[in-house]
């Protein structure tokens, strides 16, 4: 203990801060190792493709379902809020902008945390507590190259594509929903959307996706590899990992407007 005056709540806080710094440091090192492995072409492309299939392609249905529902909700709630105070075609802009700037990337990230992040942590955690990670080292393989890198790279590739898909579907269902509930036709919907459209917004959306695509698997792998304590440890670490991933995504999301929308 470094500070003798740190007791009770302040001690707990100090420990939390310490732990956070430890996580951050270890994740930084992991990122460095991953970059090194990728630059040196030490990562099997077959393994990457396999993970793109498991992580990216298999997630398409659930991501599309979530995006579709978000489009519908945004359009209906937007319509309710505005009630006749503004021209109805403004709905086009509201749906497109909220889906592209916020809901598409963030909701896709949350879905992927549940579907992929948790799975990576549990899988690597189980390998850790059953000595499979040790076994990998013992046969001269590096778990960062064999396990971590294909997952992180696959997620970096998949996230922007999934978010692009989610954006399209969210806008589409938002438009259809506006047609049925507000009587807003497709043409006037897109007229409204174009009024406030910057093509930069799509870039902004995909940039978010890219960062989320790095953060999620990085945390998932890191948490998995530091798992200890049998089946119970795997359960506990997976929960902690999901919480950490969600918080990190929200913090990154909150940093985006001041950094990239000025």
């Amino acid at each position: 203990m470094k500070f003798s005056f740190a007791r009770g709540p302040s001690l707990a806080l100090a420990q939390k801060v310490n732990l956070l710094a430890e996580h951050a440091g270890q994740i930084g090192l992991l990122f460095f190792d991953l970059s090194l492995a990728s630059i040196r072409l030490r990562v099997s492309s077959k393994a990457i493709f396999r993970q793109v299939y498991l992580i990216g392609i298999q997630s398409v249905p659930i991501v599309l379902l979530a995006a579709g529902l978000v489009g519908i909700v945004t359009s209906q709630q937007g319509g309710y809020q505005m009630q006749s105070s503004l021209p109805v075609y403004i709905m086009g802009s509201i749906v497109v902008e909220s889906v592209i700037l916020e809901m598409g990337p963030v909701l896709t990230a949350i879905v992927m945390i549940g579907r992929v992040g948790a799975r990576i942590t549990a899988e690597l955690g189980t390998m850790k507590v059953s000595e499979q990670i040790d076994a990998l080292y013992s046969v001269g393989r590096d778990p960062v190259e064999v396990l971590a890198a294909p997952r992180v790279l696959a997620m970096m590739i998949s996230m922007p594509l999934l978010v692009a898909l989610a954006n399209m579907v969210g806008i589409l269902t938002g438009m259809v929903s506006a047609q049925y509930t507000l009587g807003l036709g497709a043409e006037r919907f897109f007229y409204g959307a174009r009024l406030f459209w910057h093509s930069y917004d799509m870039f902004y959306s995909l940039l978010k996706a890219f960062f989320f695509g790095i953060a999620i698997p990085l945390i998932a792998v890191h948490m998995g590899l530091r798992t200890r304590g049998g089946a119970e440890g795997v359960g506990r670490t997976t929960t902690e990992s999901v919480v950490l991933m969600i918080l990190t995504i929200l913090v990154i999301d909150a940093m985006f407007p001041p950094l990239f929308l000025q």
Partner: protein
């Protein structure tokens, strides 16, 4: 390098390791080339930790390991790769890769360099041979996954993986714990046979004291973070140390409960 150091395959020098509490406090131990060496000790004394420091799976707080005279922790950074190449490690619970088939698991025992050099056919042959050496029917288990195997079969596949690269040194972490007497006898015969056929140096951690004393050239006992005994099997049998006695004699074991403060 002198003749003398050349003959020592594994040399632990003052290995110390603490986690929350001290586990190992300065272990000095040498295993000679070609020797079969048994390490006994109560559960939780750090036998696995000691074995793992050999391959840097756990890094000791102090001390060093020399493999064929080369320092694992303070030498050339490439030494560790070589060491992992020439040492086969048999894990306590087999630690097979769940997502890989039996054949793929055994193939992992070969280094990437070896796989490239040998070519597909020779690799397949080596996998077949290795499974055959551990008395598994290669044709039967080849494509199976670890979840489809019994405990004894898993251990054998784990051994096949450890010997696939034809190692100079084998580290065995309780290869017979949790097996029935028949399987225990079979695995023990296998250990002896492999050590002889493949001319490997074996360091064997085991709870089966009788088996260990019978098979091994020398034995040691780890207890309380220190080596409590190191010497010949006869010396172990005749030792007057109460804790050592507990391992050869059930009545002495009861007496030792008090000495070791176990409830």
């Amino acid at each position: 390098m002198s003749e003398l150091t050349k003959k020592i395959a594994i040399q632990y020098q003052g290995i110390a390791k603490a986690f929350d509490t001290p586990v190992l406090s300065g272990i000095d131990l040498s295993v000679n080339s070609g020797e079969m060496f048994a390490l006994f000790g109560p559960s939780g004394t750090g036998k696995s930790v000691l074995l793992k420091t050999t391959l840097s799976l756990i890094v000791p707080d102090r001390g060093d390991v020399l493999i064929n005279g080369e320092s694992v922790y303070f030498g050339n950074p490439d030494t560790l790769n070589t060491v992992r190449d020439i040492i086969g490690y048999v894990f306590q619970y087999a630690a097979l890769f769940d997502s890989l088939s039996v054949a793929e698991n055994v193939e992992m025992g070969l280094s990437e360099r070896a796989i490239k050099e040998m070519g597909l056919e020779a690799v397949q042959e080596r996998i077949w041979e290795s499974l055959d050496l551990v008395n598994l029917d290669p044709g039967e288990v080849w494509g199976k996954f670890p979840a489809e195997l019994s405990g004894g079969m898993k251990k054998r596949v784990g051994i096949a993986r450890a010997i696939a690269g034809r190692p100079e040194i084998l580290l065995w972490d309780e290869p017979t714990t949790g097996l029935d007497p028949v399987n225990t006898a079979a695995i023990e015969r296998l250990i002896k046979q492999l050590s002889e056929e493949l001319h490997v140096t074996s360091l064997l951690v085991t709870h089966d004291v009788e088996g260990g004393l019978e098979m091994c050239d020398r034995v040691a006992m780890l207890e309380g973070g220190k080596l409590r005994f190191c010497g010949s099997p006869e010396g172990f049998r005749n030792s007057e140390d109460a804790v050592v006695k507990a391992f050869t004699d059930r009545r002495a074991a009861n007496a030792a409960l008090d000495i070791l403060d176990i409830r």
